[in-house]
Amino acid sequence: MPFVPVLRAELIKIRTLRSLIGALAAVVLVTAAFSALASAAPDENDPDPLFSAFFGISFGQIAAIAFGTTAVAAEFRGGALRLTLAATPDRPRWFAAKAAAIALPALAVGLLTGAVTLLVGKAALGAEGPTWAEGLRGAVGCALQLTLMALFAAGLTAVLRSGVATLSILIPFLLIVSFVIGDMSSGIADFLPDRAGQVALHSSWDGPLGPWTGLAMCALWSAAALLAGMWSVSRRDA
């Protein structure tokens, strides 16, 4: 079976669910809004101009995760997956198409989010804002990070076969582990997917990972989740 028709089918599925469009809209709005708030009152003790501008990604990525989760979880309801796999019996190929259909709109929306957030941040921070060079890196990093988190959630949902299970693991994980354990910084927390990816959104960093190695680390997590999801979908009875 060729790949493109399967991808087209999966893109139609994404486009025609209002909850998914809503989640993508929330990525832009939430990231920009929380960034604007943070920029209006930047952290005086530890000013990081770039992260002040991109502070909202911590919240925007939750919408990105909801997007990736919902897109996959829809297949695990009411026997939808059976119909899907009857149409596309090549399961790895189907799952690859599903991942691509999640990644493409997530990346497009991520780039838009990065651009809007950067502009809002620069406007709000003025002279204390990030430079254009690091701002550009932040915008691209923001897009990649949001895409990778959506894919990470998509893979995990395929393993758990449930959107509720995925969200009830990932959201507390992001909110608690990242904010609480993450603040102790250093060590293992730096290698967690969201922390690693967000190095790209900082003007300066002192951990073992830099902006691009951090994103690569995050990509490894997403790839692992997607491979596990593909394995699970391929191996189990539908």
Binding site: M1, P5, V6, R8, A9, E10, I12, K13, T16, L17, R18, S19, A74, R77, G78, G79, A80, R82, L83, T84, L85, A86, A87, T88, P89, D90, D237, A238
Partner: protein
């Protein structure tokens, strides 16, 4: 022509055998009714045929090839498994568009099957607003989307109103008349009798019968004749004299077993017994099925565990 061939098919879930050494063929040009009580393994067998579940043993092929080896399978095989497969928040049309795209089925087919299943008017409404009967119709529309030569429908009449039941009967007969291979599962006997030419009957995952409907009924149910006379006493005396196995009903009518209306009518005319009613009662599929399962229960009284 394309047949479904199931050979020595077995599926175990843990220690339970849902399908147990099953073998049968579904031939084109007729409707094959797939019968059995709930839990007999009908749905599991269909999932195994479609390559959705992996068999513990044996094979299931369509036109000699496993389902997973088909290119663009919706153009060859259409299936209704779950009426709930369409997402509640998506419109029927968008649901079918996505399916069509995956198998490069022209968009015009989407509108054609929506028209064919009577959903054209509501095609842009969210599936969540549909009744169960409308969702069933959408499932059937999805099965017909690729104009397939093989069609598998799991309990398609579920939730359909009487009009819908007549519609699906006509639809199934039409599909078989086109020369397609049609397998339709049901646990409703009268409904199945109204559209099936051939039967495959399961019990506890095993094949109980694979036979034409007519032969199945004739072999298992003796025909009866119902007869009523203005002279009930004379009729009773006559039946007794000729040694007929007859039962008298409270309304004065008699049911006579092991005879045919032609035979009894001639006899009554000869003897000059006035006849008010003389009706042949053909055996029903339900009677034949109950006869089969009663016989089967004697052999499988204890639960079938591996």
């Amino acid at each position: 022509m394309t047949s479904i061939d199931v050979h020595d098919l077995t599926k175990e879930y843990g220690t339970r055998r849902a399908v147990d050494g099953l073998g049968f063929s579904v031939r084109p040009g007729r409707v094959t009714g797939f019968l059995g009580p709930n839990g007999a393994g009908k749905s599991t067998t269909m999932r195994l045929v479609l390559g959705l579940d992996r068999p513990t043993g044996g094979t299931a092929t369509i036109g000699g090839r496993p389902y997973a080896a088909l290119r663009e399978p919706l153009r060859r095989v259409g299936a209704l498994l779950d009426a709930g497969a369409a997402h509640r928040s998506r419109s029927a049309r968008d649901h079918l568009r996505a399916l069509a795209a995956s198998n490069r089925i022209p968009g015009a087919r989407v509108d054609a099957v929506l028209e064919h299943t009577g959903l054209a008017e509501v095609a842009r409404r969210r599936v969540g607003t549909y009744s169960l009967g409308m969702r069933q119709r959408l499932g059937i529309a999805a099965a017909l989307l690729g104009d397939p030569e093989v069609i598998l429908l799991d309990e398609p009449a579920n939730g359909l109103d009487p009009e819908g039941i007549v519609w699906i009967r006509t639809l199934l007969r039409g599909l078989a008349a086109d020369g397609r291979t049609v397998l339709v599962s049901s646990h409703l006997m009268n409904e199945t009798a109204s559209f099936a030419d051939h039967l495959v009957i399961l019990g506890r995952g095993r094949l109980l019968a694979d036979t034409p409907v007519r032969e199945f009924i004739d072999a298992r149910v003796q025909p009866e004749v119902r007869v009523r006379s203005s002279d009930t006493a004379a009729l009773g005396e006559l039946l007794a004299r000729h040694g007929h196995d007859a039962v008298r009903h409270p309304d004065g009518a008699w049911t006579v077993r092991h005879t045919r209306a032609e035979e009894l009518g001639r006899l009554l005319a000869q003897e000059g017994v006035p006849v008010l009613e003389l009706a042949a009662h053909e055996g029903t599929l339900e009677q034949a099925y109950l006869d089969l399962t009663a016989a089967e229960a004697e052999f499988t009284a204890q639960p079938q565990e591996v």
